[in-house]
Amino acid sequence: MFSKAYSAAIHGIDGLIVSVEADVSDGLPLFDMVGLLGSEVKEARERVRIALKNSGYQLPAKRITVNLSPADIRKEGTAFDLPVAIAILTAFGYIPEESLSHVLIIGELSLSGTINKVNGVLPIVYSARQQGFLKCIVPKENAREGAVVNGIQTYGVSTLLEVVELLNAVKEFVPEFVDVKQLFHNQDREEDIDFAEVAGQKAAKRAIEIAVCGMHNILMIGPPGSGKTMLAKRIPTIMPELSFEESMEISKIYSIAGLMDQQPLILKRPFRSPHHTITTTALTGGGITPKPGEISLAHLGVLFLDELAEFQKNTIEVLRQPLEDKSINITRLNASYRYPAGFMLVAAMNPCSCGYYPDRNKCNCSINLVKRYLGRISQPLLDRFDICIEALQMNYKELEVQEKQETSEEIRRRVSIAREIQMERYKEQNIYFNSELTPRSIKKYCKLGTKEQSLLEQAFIKMNLSARAYHRILKVARTIADLDQCEQIGTKHISEAICYRSMDQKYWGE
């Protein structure tokens, strides 16, 4: 007696369909599983055997062989428990074989026969639909996650017996339903944080607004307690709302990482702020079973590195390539995985080890020490920050001023308009934002008039700027002009971009 059920494994951020074959034949009573299995999949044997017993099935003393195919791909995770159990029951004739075709099954079994949640349901259901499956049986806790995918019926189940009933069609089961439109509509607009709460910091706020518009990476330098972290945390509140496609992309990654928290979709822009003790693998993703790292979890959102200078040097240097490619390739012996990493990098650091330079009343660091502190960040990484701004410590008087501060909503409206302008301009190109402009396309899209050209030239000579700075200034000026809804970059935009020019070591600590 032979039977075949379908399940799936996670490969990168996609689901990979795995067929679970079970064969029952005469011979010595034995339960064997093959197919390049990870140890947790091998352990499924015990879980399945006992869960079947506790669900009331007596397995006759037969030789049971289970094969997970394709057999040359390593299987990891606990999602194979349920399909293995179902394949065995089918092989014993408890379930008609034809009911297993076009059904994808995932779930972890407990010894009592209940079904526990698993990770990566969304990408699995998504690939199941692409492969032409009609039904998905997933753990109850993951059902809403899977139901987001259109064109496939997702059933949430909580016990093994329920699955058997479902497959035997003895009872009417209703597929899980999630109204995606409603979900986006009902989105909790009431954020608990808002830009209006930050007093003062006009320059920093403006810089952040520009950075968000063009997805420029931004570096904030300032003394402790100047509000760098507070500002950074509020960046997602001024980013445009997620579209369905964006939400799907993010949710897939979060589903694999097991961070869905029972929500069907991730509806908020990610804001990831790893501690500076983070390891390289945790940041980029990887491990024996590759998992997405912080940079992928920050996809389409913000990766905030607080105390940038305190990070391990080699840890932050690995950011250089993903920042260019907007994705990261993790290559391991078994396979190569590609995770998206289109994040906006926001970093904050102190100007020196005591934190108060250039306030000489508080800072006693020698110029060398100050230079060395900034020197911990390599020039190539500094080059990837288009915008650099110093946050200033606010004194009590300024905090007291009850000036009306702009809310995130107001800023977001401006940002959205500027983004639409960029979208329109680059619709022929393969890019979305000004920050992605290459030197060649800068020539095309950042044309300057004679007045602007001469201003930039003067500033260059006066401030002894580098050639690297030139392109960054133009890109940022383009974004500022977009924010102003100006077709042409003006002197005002150039001047402002020069103020945000990124930090070259020679500009600091002279």
């Binding site: 006009k202 009343n361 002197t491 005002k492």
Partner: protein, 372 residues
């Protein structure tokens, strides 16, 4: 071996400083005689020489050092190398030896010089101050040293970081003479980021050290070289010193040597000005402009030192508003925005124009100040 080589040998004996050299010379007459002195004579000297408190001046190691280091070839080789490197070796016996230095307590027996020694006819001003100085200190050092040097007064300092470097730099930019007294071997540029100054000053002044080539910048050397700084100068200007600052050692030595002390005041709340303000309290001359120094140095100097007014248009409109908010104390763009209540983009544009017009400068990125 020439006389100079004997002196070179004498001044490079381990643990033999100016005092012991004086004693040896008194006893034996010349460096050559010391070189050839018999063990008996040296033992006798050891027995006789005692300090004021009755302790023996020479130890056994000192004597061994003298006896065991009499290698003509080595001395000759080293001395030739010194000359090859363009380093002058000037001892107390030479007429070039600065008179001002000759009479101080523990005057260095020999000096190593790259470039020149200060001209005995010109007056010299020592400029000392904090290594970790503020922008204010930096501006004042460059401005005052420059303005004074322009009038033909040599600027002497210690080639250290901070005020020292800025004073040397200011003097060089103004086309004046400036001399640096090192706390390490003459061939070592310490701190190394001052290499440009070190090279430039050899042309436009001199680098002077009492330490032979190769001697490392040890912490103990620096207070000692301060006595040379103060001795070579006719007045000491202190710009930014904490209440317990190394610069005050120079001042103390200067006072012992009878020099005038000048100090640039600072705000009461700035700890970097504590030392200066204390000096003023104790009677140092308060300096607010180069004129205050020049009238002490040049008899009959009454002419108002012309502050170089920045050329260009007087700022108008928004620029005037911004300019009026600025001072020599650097302000961050955020503070300027609060004071002027201008929108950020306008402010940044106007500041850039002011900067390009030479009215304003950035001390560090986005910290703006007036050109002094």
């Amino acid at each position: 071996m020439t006389d100079k080589e004997y002196f070179y040998w004498l001044s490079n004996l381990y643990n033999i400083g100016p005092k012991k050299i004086d004693m040896l010379l008194q006893y034996f007459g010349s460096a050559e005689d010391i070189f050839h002195a018999s063990i008996e004579a040296l033992t006798e000297l050891k027995a006789i020489c005692r300090t004021d408190s009755g302790v023996r001046l020479f130890s056994d190691e000192d004597m061994d050092g003298i006896i065991n280091n009499r290698n003509r070839d080595v001395v000759h080789h080293r001395f030739t190398k010194l000359i090859e490197h363009g380093i002058q070796f000037i001892t107390k016996e030479d007429c070039e030896y600065p008179e001002k230095l000759r009479h101080i307590y523990t005057a260095p027996y020999a000096l190593y010089v790259k470039g020149r020694l200060p001209d005995p006819e010109t007056k010299c001003l020592a400029v000392v101050g904090a290594r970790e100085c503020s922008t204010y200190g930096r501006e004042m050092a460059e401005y005052l040293a420059g303005a004074v040097a322009k009038e033909g007064i040599a600027i002497i300092s210690g080639l250290a970081r901070g005020i020292d470097s800025y004073a040397h730099h200011g003097a060089l930019v103004a086309g004046g003479k400036t001399y640096g007294i090192m706390g390490c071997g003459i061939d070592i540029c310490y701190p190394k980021e001052n290499i440009n100054l070190y090279m430039e000053m050899q042309k436009e002044g001199g680098i002077i050290s009492e330490y032979a080539p190769g001697i490392k910048p040890l912490a103990g050397n620096f207070p000692l070289r301060n006595r040379i700084i103060s001795a070579l100068s006719d007045g000491i200007l202190v710009i930014e010193a904490r209440e317990k600052s190394g610069s005050l050692i120079t001042v103390d030595m200067g006072l012992e040597q009878g020099k005038d002390i000048y100090a640039v005041p600072g705000r009461v709340t700035d700890c970097l000005s504590g030392g200066c303000n204390n000096l003023i309290k104790m009677g140092a001359k308060l300096i607010t402009s180069p004129k205050d120094i020049l009238e002490e140095f040049i008899p009959g100097y009454m002419q108002e030192a012309k502050r170089t007014e920045k050329e260009g248009h007087i700022p108008e409109g928004n620029q005037k508003l911004i300019y009026s908010c600025l001072s020599i104390e650097p302000k961050h763009i955020e503070e300027i925005a609060i004071l002027t209540k201008l929108p950020m983009d306008t402010l940044m544009e106007q500041l850039l124009l002011l900067e390009l017009g030479g009215m304003v400068k950035q001390s560090t990125k986005n910290y703006y100040m007036r050109f002094f």
